[in-house]
């Protein structure tokens, strides 16, 4: 196990290194002045020389990279070219909002996906299976931005059940502390926290459900296929022959074997989810990284693009490695295979 973890961390470190080199070189590849691209400080600024020295632009490329990393870990990510605000300060408030949305959506997908997939497999080619397959296939085929617009039209405009923009009704006046609205409401010292929480949940419900759809249908299809394969195996027949009841066969033999297949794909589902989060945030005016990144791309705000891309890529990478390690830890057979190679 330790060998596996070590190997995974080595891979992680190497990939992260390549990623930081890439992010570092972006400053040179973007058009314009590399120092400005990296720090957001314009040539006309009085601090320009100081910034150039601090970022070792008078020395060789290796020192520049090291200076870049030092700045990165000191959370000095430069300032935005649009408004001169510190990239890290802005990131700190926006990232939790994005994380909140994606974690909730992921949780929803994990909660519903595998059970529905198993349910479908248990009733393979029967009506229940056909209904679930139909919905998962439709969910898979509808683009997420279209589904978002459609759900807004139905649930917000026509039925009037939910609001469509932001994290919470601004009249609640929840102080901005972490950026994640649930945490902020919890921290807020307000007499109406309960109602505020309800209001925040109403704001969250549509984006979370739409966002959960993509990983959800992916998980349903994967689980169903894996489970159908497992059910065909001889040991399942053997278990039934030994006189075990259906639930016992299911929980002891079928589900663990199915999940071994499915677990590995959770990281794929997560990276899909992050991509879609950016789109969903735009549509639902969620104050996370999505809107910020898209606007920065339009405005060619390189320090922001650089920082956000690096962080999002690292996040997906981390989840990937964590999934692999969990997979190996939870399923001994996988561990043996990994050790063998």
């Amino acid at each position: 196990m330790i060998r596996i973890i070590l190997r995974q961390f080595t891979v992680l470190a190497l990939t992260l290194f390549v990623l930081t080199v890439l992010a570092f070189s972006l400053a040179f590849w973007f058009p314009g002045n590399a120092i400005t691209n990296a720090s957001g400080v314009l040539v006309t600024d009085i601090h320009y020389q100081a910034v150039a020295t601090a970022r070792a632009f008078d020395k060789n490329i290796i020192s520049q990279y090291l200076a870049y990393m030092a700045h990165f870990f000191a959370f000095d990510w430069g300032v935005s070219l649009q408004d001169g605000a510190s990239v890290w300060q802005e990131f700190k408030l926006r990232f939790p909002a994005t994380l909140e949305l994606s974690l909730l959506a992921m949780a929803l997908a994990l909660l519903l996906g595998p059970p529905l997939g198993i349910l479908a497999a248990m009733h393979h080619n029967k009506p229940i299976d056909q209904i679930i397959t139909f919905f998962s296939l439709s969910g898979y085929s509808i683009p997420v931005f279209w589904m978002a617009q459609l759900s807004i039209l139905i649930f917000a405009v026509a039925l009037g059940w939910v609001p469509i923009a932001g994290q919470v009704n601004p009249l609640f006046d929840i102080p901005l502390v972490s950026g994640s609205i649930l945490v902020d409401i919890w921290l807020a010292e307000q007499p109406y926290r309960g109602i505020a929480l309800l209001n925040a949940l109403q704001h969250m419900i549509l984006p979370v459900i739409v966002l959960a759809t993509v990983p959800l249908v992916l998980l349903i299809r994967l689980t169903r296929n894996a489970c159908v394969d497992v059910l065909r195996l001889n040991f399942v027949k053997g278990a039934y022959a030994r006189g075990l009841s259906t639930p016992e066969v299911l929980f002891k033999h079928v589900i663990p074997n199915t999940m071994q297949e499915v677990t590995l794909h959770i990281s794929t589902a997560f990276s899909l989810l992050i991509t879609n989060t950016l789109i969903i945030e735009m549509i639902f005016s969620w104050p996370g990284l999505g809107r910020w990144l898209v606007r920065s791309i339009y405005e060619r705000d390189y320090p922001v693009i650089q920082g956000v891309l690096l962080l999002l890529a690292s996040l997906i990478l981390l989840v990937n490695v964590a999934t692999t390690i969990f997979h190996a830890w939870r399923f001994p057979r996988v561990r043996r295979e990994l050790n063998a190679t």
Binding site: P115, I152, F155, I164, D173, I195, Q202, S245, R295
Partner: protein
């Protein structure tokens, strides 16, 4: 084991049920009285002195600040604000304002005023943009576009305070547009005491980020791309605002703003999509307010280039265009035909429909008389961006192309990226251009001197490159006198001259729209000074549609 599976299912079903329950009834803060206004962009600054955009003006000026005097569009007269009365010397060069006493500045966590409003604050606010030596002159960029464009910074010779509640402004020469400029929403009064305090703290830039004024609302916080939050200023001199809080939610997409209005995510939304206005008007859960903005879209001819140097040719072109069709197809009827460069809301407006009427036969005759029986070919430069006075210059140019072909003129549409468009335009490379003008203040002078004089030609705002001595004399004489009837006579002559010479063909005055939910009370149609949210509140007691709200501008504030 089976039980376990059932439990999981139950939890999931239960969770789904709970979420659907949450969804069904909207949860709102109890006893809240706040107004949500969906704004179309981030404010550039919280100091209107430094901006030009109407978006920023709507969000800051009338909510946070006051001006010395205000302009009442209905009565077409100036009314007191921070100044209670004013006197002008007979030569029109010295203005003396008596100031209102006991006007309180905002009390906020970052500033506690120790004194009320005095002449010091007026001097401080004016000197900031007048005097390059002023400690705040270069703070936050040091650009004061409105005062530069109206030349107010050149006009004022001296400003002084003979007593704590009197301010004297001396002008270099008499100028009857001076009061209009002062009444504009850009000429706000800041707090001198706050300025001093920030100087001592070495943080002068905060004056434009955490504003202090005397207006009906005080600043609470601003989150880029999300919202601007204001609270009620309880000791406002006109009486506290009708709502406890005011939130501007920043929503650049017009379609999104409309949806947010329908779902109750905002109470008021400016600039709905033009194609949806008719549909919105039919709905019974929203009110649509409209006001004629003082703006004009026009077609300017480069009068330095042949054949446009001949008035006959320009007249022919004016008669060749079917402007009524343009109003229908380009503006979706959300505009009125311009019968003069000056909007019909102005007291000096003179309608001259015959001069610009659609008459292709007359146009052909005029062309023949000018020596072009077979027409000619020309360029129409179409503005590449959307403007309040013209939603789509490109589409307009295409329609005009067809009209011109009918009288034998081959028109070619030209467009560049906005910045190079303006640069080339300034160099006079165009034959003709579709462009326009939005007023900054109420005085008719704003449509003449900055646009069509020889001086405007030098400062490149004169897109027709037209310089006519008679016209210059008329409009200059008009600002040297304060006698309204005399000014009307002069402006009538000026507009008649324009109708004969046709350096520009006025096309349309567009209508500005604003939508509010039915339960929004006290809202007035927007004016060019911005929207006044002081009397607005939400009537939450009546859940159903409310039958009537104020849609006529009564001008007053409770």
């Amino acid at each position: 084991m089976h039980k376990q599976f059932n439990k999981v299912l139950k939890t999931i079903v239960g969770g789904l049920l709970a979420t659907s329950l949450i969804a069904c009834s909207p949860a709102l803060p109890p006893n809240s009285s706040g107004v949500l206004y969906c704004s179309e962009g981030n404010p550039e600054s919280f100091n209107p002195q430094m901006v030009t955009s109407a978006t920023t003006l709507d969000m800051t000026s009338l909510q946070l600040y006051d001006t010395l005097i205000e302009y009442n569009e209905q009565q077409q007269e100036f009314r007191p604000a921070l100044a209670t009365e004013w006197k002008v010397t007979s030569d029109g060069r010295v203005y003396t304002f008596s100031l209102r006493e006991n006007v309180q500045f905002h009390q906020t966590p970052y500033f506690s005023p120790t004194r009320s409003f005095t002449a010091d604050d007026v001097i401080f606010s004016f000197q900031r943009w007048l005097d390059p030596e002023h400690p705040y002159h270069f703070v936050s960029g040091g650009h004061y576009p409105f005062f530069r464009a109206t030349k107010l910074d050149q006009l004022i010779q001296r400003i002084s305070a003979p007593t704590p509640y009197t301010v004297r402004i001396e002008l270099r020469e008499p100028d009857s547009s001076f009061m209009s400029t002062l009444s504009s929403s850009f000429a706000v009064i800041l707090s001198a005491e706050y300025g001093q305090q920030l100087l001592l703290a070495h943080e002068p830039h905060r004056i434009d980020q955490q504003p202090i004024g005397t207006g009906p609302f005080k600043f609470r916080d601003f989150r880029q791309d999300v919202s601007v939050n204001y609270l009620r200023h309880d000791t406002y001199w006109r009486g506290p605002a009708a709502s406890e809080s005011l939130v501007f939610r920043i929503t650049p997409s017009d379609h999104k703003r409309m949806l947010m209005l329908l779902t109750g995510d905002c109470d008021i939304s400016p600039y709905p999509p033009a194609r949806d206005i008719a549909w919105l008007k039919q709905r019974d859960d929203v009110n649509v307010q409209q006001s004629l903005s003082p703006n004009t879209a026009f077609w300017a001819f480069n009068t330095e280039r042949p054949p446009f140097n001949q008035p006959l040719v320009r007249q022919a072109l004016a008669h060749a265009i079917n402007r009524e069709a343009l109003i229908r197809s380009v503006y979706y009827d959300h505009a009125v035909i311009a019968e003069s460069i000056l909007p019909d809301t102005s007291w000096a407006h003179v309608a001259l429909p015959e001069a610009y009427s659609y008459d292709p036969v007359k146009a052909r005759n005029l062309l023949t008389a000018a020596g072009f029986p077979n027409g000619f070919s020309m360029d129409i430069w179409a503005l590449p961006v959307q403007r309040s006075y013209n939603p789509s210059a490109r589409m307009m140019a295409e329609k005009m192309q067809a009209d011109l072909a009918f009288v034998g003129i081959r028109a070619n549409i030209v467009s560049y990226e906005w910045r190079s468009f303006r640069r080339r335009l300034a160099q006079g490379e165009h034959d003709s251009v579709l462009i326009g003008w939005s007023a900054d203040h109420s005085d008719p002078d704003n449509f003449f001197r900055p646009l069509l004089t020889c001086a405007a030609k030098r400062s490149v705002n004169n897109r027709a490159l037209w310089c006519h001595e008679g016209f210059d004399q008329l409009v200059t004489a008009a600002i040297r006198t304060t006698e309204i009837s005399e000014r009307q006579r002069l402006y009538r002559a000026a507009q008649q001259l324009l109708a004969e010479e046709v350096p520009v063909l006025p096309l349309a005055h567009s209508i500005r729209y604003q939508v509010s939910r039915k339960n929004v009370q006290g809202i007035l149609p927007p004016t060019f000074g911005g929207i006044r949210l002081h009397p607005v509140y939400i009537d939450r007691s009546e859940p159903g549609p409310v039958t009537s709200t104020v849609t006529e501008n009564t001008g007053g504030v409770p």
